[in-house]
């Protein structure tokens, strides 16, 4: 049945899809009269030339690892969670409430509770769509989209009416106490005597995101629950025949998904040291591209998150130095989603034909 070897399915197809996305992006840059090679050079220099740029790339990648994992866990249960944006927004609220409610003496105390707060709020925002999908049959894609909009309206209300400190004009929360400041990568590397820019906000959350990737890998491929989630995603009828409850799987997968998206806030909100409007900045949506590109595998997600971290940091760089606006990254993101997600068969069909051709040429019995 398998037309292609596993490695081709796992690496070749995403590689071709991304190449296609990049070629079209290059054509777009050409069309607006700029040089794509020069733009790429600028992106690379701006990211890898200075440790500050590299630090920003890792900072963005941390966000995308969390949201990418969130989308991926739901994908394994064949659920399309577009609500990562809203869940991360609510996660930000959870983290901010934790940080604001207690005068934390030290980050080692604040971080676990902030993580818990973010996860709880993110999961709570995913529970309602999950319940409606499981029990009332309403489509999770539509409900999670609606919850994104509801969350942004809720956040405007809370920041303007509730969380804004007395006398302040900006719709932002009060500043968190210093005890919530997470150690930055420069602090950690400085401990070992390695110099790193302290201007980049990349912090210990990066390692927590990597740990989360490992834990999700364990969960999906090494536990009974992960097996049940994958079985349900492959075939709902086979799973329920095997005694796996669809309601349970939908609820659990979405709770994990929402919690992961919510955890993103320990990176974005705690680094900003206050809760601002739109603290997620589209990371919930980039998570879709990251999960699709990483084929819902944690290892692929790490790579895809790093790539998108590079694109966003590089995009800010070319926005600054050339007349190409940073929206170029949105175009690349859209093309990656289009080719790795929706037009998957367009890349797959010719490659499969190619592999079949080579297979026929081989002598029998090999």
């Amino acid at each position: 049945m398998d037309v292609m070897p596993k490695w081709a399915d796992a690496f070749l197809i995403p590689l071709f899809s991304i190449l296609l996305a990049f070629v079209i992006s290059a054509l777009v840059i050409l069309a607006i009269g700029e040089d794509p090679i020069a733009a790429l050079k600028l992106m690379i220099e701006g990211t890898f030339g200075r440790s500050e740029g590299f630090g920003y790339m890792l900072f963005f990648a941390t966000n995308y690892m969390f949201t990418g994992l969130a989308v991926a866990v739901a994908f394994h249960a064949r659920l399309f969670n577009i609500g990562g944006e809203g869940q991360a927004t609510l996660g930000g609220l959870g983290v901010a409430l934790v940080c604001l409610s207690v005068p934390w003496p030290h980050w080692t105390l604040a971080l676990p509770f902030a993580l818990l707060g973010g996860a709880l709020f993110g999961a709570a925002w995913a529970i309602i769509p999950a319940y409606l999908q499981a029990k009332r049959g309403s489509h999770i894609v539509i409900t999670t989209i609606m919850f994104n909009f509801i969350s942004s309206a809720l956040m405007v209300y809370l920041l303007v009416e509730v969380l804004k400190p007395e006398g302040s004009m900006d719709p932002t929360s009060a500043r968190f106490v210093d005890g919530t400041n997470l150690p930055r990568l420069s602090d950690i590397l400085g401990f070992f005597g390695i110099p790193f820019s302290s201007a980049a906000p990349v912090n210990i959350s990066f390692f927590i995101a990597l740990l989360a990737c490992y834990l999700i890998w364990l969960l999906i491929w090494r536990t009974r629950l992960g097996y049940e989630i994958r079985a349900y995603g492959q075939s709902e009828s086979a799973a329920s025949y095997a005694g796996i409850s669809p309601t349970r799987i939908i609820m659990i997968a979405m709770i994990i998904s929402g919690a992961l998206a919510g955890c993103m806030a320990i990176n974005s909100v705690m680094a900003a040291e206050r809760l601002v409007l739109n603290s997620v900045e589209g990371a919930g949506f980039i998570g879709i591209a990251v999960a699709l590109m990483g084929r819902s595998h944690p290892f692929g997600i790490v790579l895809a998150a790093l790539l998108f971290g590079f694109l966003v940091q590089g995009g800010a760089e070319i926005d600054f130095w050339t007349s190409i606006p940073r929206e170029l990254v949105v175009v690349i993101q859209a093309l990656v989603i289009l080719f790795t997600g929706a037009l998957d068969n367009m890349v797959r069909m010719p490659l499969e034909r190619l592999f079949l051709m080579f297979r026929r040429k081989k002598p029998e019995g090999s």
């Binding site: 989209i145 929206e327 859209a334 929706a342 037009l343």
Partner: protein
Amino acid sequence: MDFLTLLQILDTTVRLATPLLFACLAGLYSERAGIFDIGLEGKMLAAAFFSAAIASVSGSVWIGLLAGIGASLALSIVHGLASITFRGNQLISGVAINFLASGLTVLIAQDWFQQGGRTPSLGSEARFNEIELPFVDAFANIPWFGLIYSELISGHSILVYVALLAVPLTWYILFRTRFGLRLRAVGENPAAVDTAGISVIWLRYLAVAICGILCGLAGAYLATSLQAGFVREMSSGRGFIALAALIFAKWRPWYALFSCLLFGFFQALSFRPDVVKAVTQVEIPGQLLDALPYILTVVILAGFVGKAIPPRAGGEPYVKER
């Protein structure tokens, strides 16, 4: 609240409901044919930009309208390729189209006009202007009706009337013509349509194309009638509200009109917090009014107020044989 204020709010309601109605009917054709489309938003946005850009360059709003429809159709074809020809995931394709439009419009706007992702303001030549219906003066002396006629019914741009006419037309096409029957059948049971010797692929492409044209009208209305020019992200979630209205209407044209008017009414109310406060006597946050269409949709989807059942083959690519 006096009668005139009420009429003004209703007038704003009609204006704000028009893009929703176009997009909602667009989604209606597509989803009735079994193609889910969450890319309404992106198509509207692309159409808004190209209609404003071309109208501003050419000076003719009609050429702008054509360009807007063309841009929206192009994205429709991408959606058709992904979801019909290559049998990909229609939802993922819709998400991609939304981001594609969101990024490309700003990118091209910046390249063409260098005004931070917007088009120049359109003069009255390059816009759909309000048209005065006949008999406004004749009816002016009739109490109540004269005011309703001049304030509410007359004085909209031509696209508003086109949108309103599109409702009975859509109803007629879907429920009284052979094409409509086939279109609905292909969304419920494509295999049956195929067995009858009618091309599923062709029908679905046609539905997606109609969806593109209507989204083009929605976007052109936004940029050349409701406002004078394009600004980034100007569709601001209307494509999703239209989707909500479509579910609210349970995929039926007349109900779509009423749900779009209802959601337009909420939007109009959020412009007049003073009126809301005077009527309800409580301070209702504007954000709640903004979120109301989305909350209502979730409630409807939850099946607490009548059950919304989508076309049965929706979202499923059709495979001829296994």
